[in-house]
Every structure is written in C-alpha cells, then in structure tokens.
Symmetry: C2
Subunit: 219 residues, 2 copies
C-alpha cells in the first residue's frame, strides 16, 4: 500500500502548512490535497478519494460539520477527523452523530496526530482525552438529574401495592383493567390510586405517569 492518503481542510494557510509538515514527517502518510472551506472540501475529496480527511470546523462558506454531513450523504469512503480549537458538548455529539471517526483538539501533539490518522484509516475511532471525557459525561449524566431524583424519592414513599397500581396507571390502564389485572376489586384500585395521588401530590393520573416515567428511564 502506498500509505494513508490524507486531505487537509482548513481556511488558515498556516494551519494547512503545519499539518502538511507534521504528516509529511511520517513515511506512511501522504497529504494528497488541501481545501480552504467546506464547499472546496467536497470537490477535493471527490477528486482525490482520500482515506482520511482532517476537517476544521470554523470555516467560511460551509463549515466542517456541514461538509461532513454532505460527504457522508454522498457515501464517501473517507474517514473524517474533526480538528478544532474548541470542543463544546454540542459539537462533539453532532460530529459523532454525523459519522466523524475522530475528534481532535488542535493542541494535540504532532506524534498523536499521526497516530490518529493511522488509527482512523484502519477504521478505529480517535478522540482527544477531553472529548472522551465529555462523551463519558454524556452517558453518565442522565443517570441522575434533578427531577429524576425527586421522582425517585416520591415514588419510594409508595407501598408495594400502590407502586403496582401506579405502574399500571402509567401504562394507560383504566381502574377496571387494573382491577382485573391485579385480581382486585375496583374499589380497592380506586383507594390505591387515591393514596398514590396524595403521596405524589398530584390530582390526576397523567401526572402519575410523568413521575413513573421520570423515575424509570434507566439507561
């Protein structure tokens, strides 16, 4: 194999030159093209069919995320590494959802950049540590946020039976259906539903459903 073919996309000539120099130092990597914005990138990638694209985000005309989307829509085989100075949560998630294979900060060490290009060319992902941290936060955070905890606490005050009834209620069952399904009298169900309302401090069953769902959605 002739090495990894790379296209560099950045509106700053200095950055392009720097990347060219860094990547040029690796014998198995070859920079086969440059683009100055997203629009340009579409053409260059179409012409050069590179293995990897190093894509800046902030660029005139078309930004890196939009360009990534377009490339993916066109079914490009090139793996895309997003390369930027800033790493907001939103950008990270957006880029990855668009199918970016890597997300690196511009403070990445030259050696790591080369490693990233090689790894991504092999189909592996490569993220900067802080990006990984954000990603971990993204899957960890939802595990315990505000109203979730409140819902848990309130639901914990329910007795076993009440909880069963509350679950049934939030499945959209009527009292009669619940009675049948739990082998109870309708009167009993109504009693339980009543105490659920009191304990959760609500006045109708839709609100019960909200609490149960909030407390539930385990991920």
């Amino acid at each position: 194999m002739a090495g990894v073919r790379v296209v560099v996309v950045d509106d700053d000539p200095l950055v392009r030159a720097g990347l060219r120099m860094i990547l040029g130092g690796a014998p198995d990597v070859e920079v086969v093209g440059e683009a100055v914005d997203g629009q340009d990138a579409l053409d260059v990638v179409a012409r050069e069919l590179p293995d990897v694209v190093l894509m800046d985000i902030r660029m005139p005309r078309m930004d890196g995320l939009a360009a990534t989307r377009r490339l993916k829509e066109r079914g490009t085989t090139a793996r895309i590494i997003v390369l930027t100075t800033f790493d907001t949560d939103e950008m990270v998630l957006t880029a990855l959802q668009l199918g970016a294979a890597g997300f690196l900060l511009k403070d990445t060490a030259p050696a790591d950049l080369v490693v990233a290009v090689r790894r991504v060319a092999l189909g592996e992902p490569m993220l900067s540590p802080s990006v990984t941290t954000q990603l971990i936060a993204a899957v960890t955070r939802p595990a315990d946020d505000g109203r979730r905890r409140k819902a848990r606490i309130l639901l914990a005050r329910l007795t076993e039976r009440e909880r069963e009834v509350a679950d049934a209620v939030s499945d959209g069952m009527t009292n009669t259906e619940i009675a049948r399904s739990l082998h109870l009298g309708v009167a009993t169900v109504k009693t339980h539903v009543g105490s659920v309302f009191t304990k959760l401090e609500v006045t109708n069953r839709v609100q019960v459903a909200r609490y149960v769902h909030d407390a539930a959605d385990e991920r």
Copy 2:
C-alpha cells in the same frame, strides 16, 4: 514525585505477574500491591492508597464492577482502569457510570498499557478503540430507536393545534385548564383531544402522554 503507584487486581497469578513485568519496565510506574479479587482489592487499596488500580472484571467473591462501586462509595482517590477480555456494551457503560477512568481490553499492547496508566494518573480517560466505538454508538443510537420513531411518525400527523393540546394533556392538565391556557372553549379542547386520540390510536390521555414523552426526550 516517586512515580505512579499502581495496584493490580486479578485472580490469575499469571496475569498479575505479566502486568507487574510490563509496568515494572517503566521507571515512573511502581506496582505497590496486588489483590486476587474484589474483596481483597478493597483492603489493599485502603492500605496502599494507590494512584491507579488495574481492575479485572471476572473474579470470584466480588467482581471488578462491584469492587469499583465500593471503592467509589468510600470516596477513594484512586483512578480505576477496568481491564478485561470482553467488552459487552453493558459492562462498558456500567463501568463508566461507576466512575472508571479507563476501560482496556487485555489485548492492549504493553506500551499502550503504560501510557494508559500515566494518562489516567493525570486524570485523563483512556479507552480501548473498540470501547470508544461502543461509547460513540451509545450516544449516537438513542437518537432514533424503535418506539421513539413510531411516536414521532404518529405525532407528525397531528395539526399544530392538536399538538399544542396533546402537549398540554401530557403535562397533566384537565380540559378546562387547557381551555384557559390556550384561550379556547372547553368544547374545542374536547374536540381536539378527540382527534388526537383517533390519530394516535389511543383511548385515554395517559397514553397520549406516553407518546409525547417517547417522541420528546431528546438527548
């Protein structure tokens, strides 16, 4: 600084020896203790107060995930790297939610293992490529799963007004409240609620709330 202090936890003596040898090759890393299972690990970590713990998952008595949870509960300052042969989605997410700083497969190259220990000691995360891939999948996937899409499609059939009413319904409001809040007659609200039921193919408002919630929870 005297180097990174590491405790190795694995029930297999061969694995422990191997790790000791790999890490021993690095002058700035020192293996200060070993444990043969999770229970043991708690003691050793409490005694040695290491910077980093290399934790196997499959172990007798107490597995690595449980041990990680316990350590975190006790407010340990040690960063934990989970080290295992297998990487099921579930384990990865669980470990990270428990606060593991790293998740490495046992096929990791010795050099990378040392790098991981150093990076984790500095507070950065370190994941094997395949683990990173899973993590990306985990944050990308929820963007469109089964009943979510169905809910979206059904809700799309609602008119503007009906959608407003549906939202109000799933906030737990009564028809009268909705009427007031949207400056409508109660009769109108009832009409809208009726068509919402028809279009969503449900028979009561709790089920409407389910659809709206399913379609909603953007992440």
